[in-house]
Amino acid sequence: MNIVSLPINAQIRISTKKASYEGLLLPKEGDEIVLKLKSGYNIGLLPKHITNAKVLEKPKKKEPAEKHAVHQNESLPKVMILHTGGTIASKVDYETGGVVAQFSPDELIGLFPELQELAFIESELVGNMQSDDFRFAHFNIVAKKIFAQAKKGANKFIVTSGTDFLHYLATALSFILSDVPVGVLVVGAQRSSDRGSSDAGMNLACATQFLATQDFRGVGVCMHASIEDDACVILPGVNVRKMHSSRRDAFKPINKGPLAKVSYSGKQVTLLEDLAQANDNALPRSLSLLDEQLRIGMVWAKPQMFPEEFGCYDEFDGLVLVMSGLGHFPITAFDDHCKLHGVIHERIRHLAVKMPVVAAVQTIYGRVDMDVYSPGRALQEAGVIGNGSVMSPETAYIKLAWLLSNHEQDVKKSFLQDFVGEMNSDESNLYW
């Protein structure tokens, strides 16, 4: 029985010794033939159990769905949605069970009908990737798209993204667009939009509502405030972090509070911070893109470290040390067991001569303070910079990349300078 030659998406009948199954043949996965039965269930059958297979109906050509133009209200503020990927805008094909991405304004409004009541929606597909594949080139592509639209007068943007590296994207856009007077909200979904319980619609609606009603300039993130469908928070684009692998409220601001809260049911925006003044006469000036060839390392302090862990960075452009406590590394030869720590100290000193080596703390919350204990002082003496930083490791990483790309001569001087709010902290309002 040559099962392999059966055409995918054909209606077939497969017989085994005891039963026969009719359904749609789906692409093979592993050893099993996968069949979608008329009842809707998928089953896997082992070829060795199959005694007979017959094509009942050849694969049907899929008719493109009839498009219905949506009549949008032109008097509403324009919001441009740029899609980079993730499951925020996808729909199930119930025939095959596959999930298809949707991007045109009509399709987006088809998925999220309430958006058309909040704004005039325009949209563009920038990419369709998982966020954990992001490279600096992708951040530049998104920024260039926004810049091109800004030059045509657009100033309210939503960038949709997978959530794993969403905070890197938001941070990169914060720096790259620092000279472009637009408001950008990066929005993701923790539950994909194919399910009735998806958070995608509420996150998008709250982001749209915020952009449509506020003169926001800068980059933010809009996600659920709690696990309830009650309100979304607008978080600053820098020092924001995915702090849970699955909850709807996974994103938290680090060392500061949210900018605003948007209630879902009443569509009310409550500002929690003063927003940057918008100047509608400001013209887009220029992008300060990331150098796509940059190589920046990140090393996490831990017990039982080896000097070899610094072995591959000699040709790198920069390094982020994600340090313990206030900003320490295992560099003290406390006893015979710690002999290697002296070598680690030397490695850091060696690298800090060749490139900027910057400090961040693995406590995530709190300030780098390398003045308090001797390892911190020794590291400063070795050339590690960033004492006093309140940046998350990811923000420090992107900021270092941006400084190396745009202010290479001044990295050491500029690292602690505030560009887009990354050095502002509100310690009294710790939000964690």
Partner: protein
């Protein structure tokens, strides 16, 4: 106008003639952990520790077109509130974390059922997401997997039925209450493993359906990890007659109801077909909705007066040539009018009136006449439906009832069982289930080779009854209560099986009757049996000791130590000496009282008979 002669009941022969066919879908809850997380399967109704509010999205239609109905639905902004508990709810039920791997005990139970019903087990089970729109699943779908197909079963009386499919799926949340703008659900039931067994439409009599349902229930209860008690097994029946359509009935409260449901549904379809024939013959038709509020300006009827005080409206729709039909009973106590009223109720009204039932409920003949007049209808020949409610609701509701009235055909639908065995309309039969793969759960390769099938409950009952000469009911009772007579007789070899049975049932019954004390003998049985086995107490002391134990008192077992035959003889002699003329019964009573339960009654009687002067 001829009125068709409807049936009030259908005999077996008539059911056969109209071609009754019925199938079953049985859902059995399993005990242990939930299907995709480690939370316990206890269904709770105590006060929740927390509430979570969620909105559900109407999913876009297949074509991606803006769905006006979906948008309208979302504009109503109905939401759901889920009740959870700190100790028995996790992020999986809250839809805040992907599901874990499938519960292996539940899968094992499914495979056992598959083997019992001689089914083909699927090589690779792929869990699916079945779209659920009512909010009873926090995810918006129910996880379900097809485990086996194409089996059969045979009942003890020899009925042979196809078992088409066996699925393993998640139970849904329990609905706690419905409010104007939201529904409240409890999360404790969500995710409990459910076995769903579906038979073919093979049963031709109501009794056969009940017999098969009972048999499947017995098979389920043979598994070691099924839940017991009210609501743990649910029977849905599918019913059709030859000229009718397939109707699914949910919510059968217990097995005894199943055959009545089937018969009444066959009756409903048969009678409705006769009404539809009459409507066709009369060339009946449904007119346009008319506002008749003015007729009821001085209404006596409470419902209408109350409505008008709230500025509601009274709407009527003319039913041309429907005279005398809405009052006919399609099922005992359920009229054709109720069939129409059900559709209005779904739209949010409490009910409607039809002309056949008037004057009644406070509506006068004059008002009825006035409505007939305003609608241009003739009494007797024509008919109307009447609804009093806020205008938007009233219009929606009367339109739904009118729409059903002008369709002279049976519809595939889901109906709800009512306590008397009749049914009411619930919703249209869903189309092919909207299912897509549950990509968060890896496909499962069931181990088909090592399935150990437990002995069926029926076989175990028969075996136990035979071995210990018990009647079947007692054997069933022991199995149901988990009293392992076999093990107990092996452990306590000196104690007779009949006494063990008495210990569990007669002793508590006696204590209840005499002292009104509830004794859970399973708590004390081992201690009592061990002491009897070791000759530390006599059997006659058991009720007294059990009473002390149940009231939480300490027992001085020394007091109950059986005394020697010699000592008993001494006591008996003393009793006889005191009253030598007394009859044996009186002597026995006196001796037992003197011995205070320390001696076995039979032995005392034997010695008494020996010692009584002949």
């Amino acid at each position: 106008m001829a009125i068709p002669a409807l049936k009030q009941d259908l005999s077996v022969a008539e059911l056969k003639r109209i071609g009754l066919l019925s199938g079953l879908e049985i859902h059995q809850q399993l005990e242990g952990q939930k299907l995709f997380c480690h939370c316990p399967t206890a269904v709770r109704d105590d006060n929740p520790d927390f509430l979570v509010k969620r909105y559900f999205r109407a999913l876009a239609g297949e074509s991606g077109v803006v769905d006006a109905a979906a948008l309208a639905e979302m504009k109503k902004r109905k939401y759901n509130v889920y009740q959870g508990y700190e100790d028995t709810t996790c992020l999986v039920e809250l839809d805040e974390e992907p599901p874990g791997p499938v519960n292996q005990e539940a899968l094992t139970a499914a495979l056992q059922v598959a083997k019992i019903f001689d089914m083909e087990i699927i090589d690779q089970v792929r869990f699916m997401r079945k779209t659920v729109v009512d909010g009873s699943n926090t995810s918006g779908f129910q996880r379900t997997g097809l485990i086996a197909v194409n089996g059969s079963l045979e009942t003890p009386s020899g009925l042979w039925v196809h078992v088409d499919s066996l699925c393993l799926e998640e139970d849904a949340c329990k609905k706690v209450e419905t409010k104007d703008d939201h529904e409240v659900y409890n999360l404790s039931r969500l995710g409990i493993p459910l076995l769903e067994v579906a038979t073919g439409p093979d049963m031709k009599t109501p009794e056969a359906v009940a017999e098969v349902a009972e048999h499947i229930g017995m098979v389920m209860r043979s598994l070691p990890n099924v839940k017991r008690g009210l609501g743990t097994i649910r029977q849905d029946v599918n019913v059709s007659i030859k000229k009718g359509v397939r109707v699914e009935i949910k919510g059968a409260q217990d097995l005894r109801m199943v055959s009545t449901l089937v018969k009444y549904e066959a009756l409903r379809q048969h009678n409705l077909l006769m009404i539809f024939d009459a409507l066709e013959a009369r060339r009946a038709s449904v007119g346009k909705v008319v506002d008749v509020t003015d007729v009821f300006k001085h209404a006596e009827a409470k419902v209408i007066r109350g409505a008008l005080e709230k500025q509601d409206v009274v709407l009527a729709v003319p039913l041309h040539s429907f005279g005398g039909l809405t009052g006919l009973e399609t099922q005992p106590g359920r009229r054709y009018g109720a069939e129409l009223s059900d559709h209005a109720k779904v739209m949010g009204v409490k009910g409607l009136f039809h002309a056949d039932e008037l004057p009644k409920h406070g509506i006068s003949q004059a008002e009825k006449d006035a409505v007939f007049k305003q609608l241009g209808l003739q009494d007797e020949k024509d008919n109307f439906l009447l609804i009093a409610a806020p205008e938007a609701v009233a219009r929606r509701a009367i339109a739904a009832a009118a729409e059903r009235a002008q369709d002279f055909s049976l519809r595939k639908e889901v109906r709800m069982a009512l306590p008397d065995g009749t049914t009411s309309y619930l919703r249209p039969m869903p189309g092919a289930a909207r299912m897509y793969p549950e990509t968060d759960v890896k496909p499962v390769l069931p181990d088909k080779e090592n399935i150990v099938v437990p002995a069926l409950l029926s076989e175990r009952v028969a075996g136990l009854a035979k071995k210990f000469s018990l009647d079947t009911d007692m054997a069933k009772r022991l199995l149901k209560d988990g009293v392992d007579l076999d093990a107990l007789t092996k452990k306590y070899t000196k104690v007779k099986p009949a006494f063990i049975v008495d210990l569990f049932y007669s002793v508590p019954a006696l204590l209840k009757k005499k002292h009104n004390v509830e004794v859970d003998m399973s708590l004390y049985a081992d201690e009592l049996l061990a002491r009897i086995d070791a000759d530390e107490i006599s059997k006659d002391a058991v009720p007294g000791i059990a009473l002390l134990l149940a009231s939480g008192k300490t027992v001085d077992y020394e007091k109950y130590k059986p005394i020697s035959e010699k000592e008993i003889k001494e006591v008996i002699k003393e009793v006889i000496r005191k009253d030598p003329k007394a009859p044996v019964g009186a002597l026995m009573g006196a001796a037992m009282k003197e011995l205070g339960g320390k001696a076995d009654g039979k032995l005392v009687m034997k010695l008494l008979q020996e010692l009584t002067p002949k």
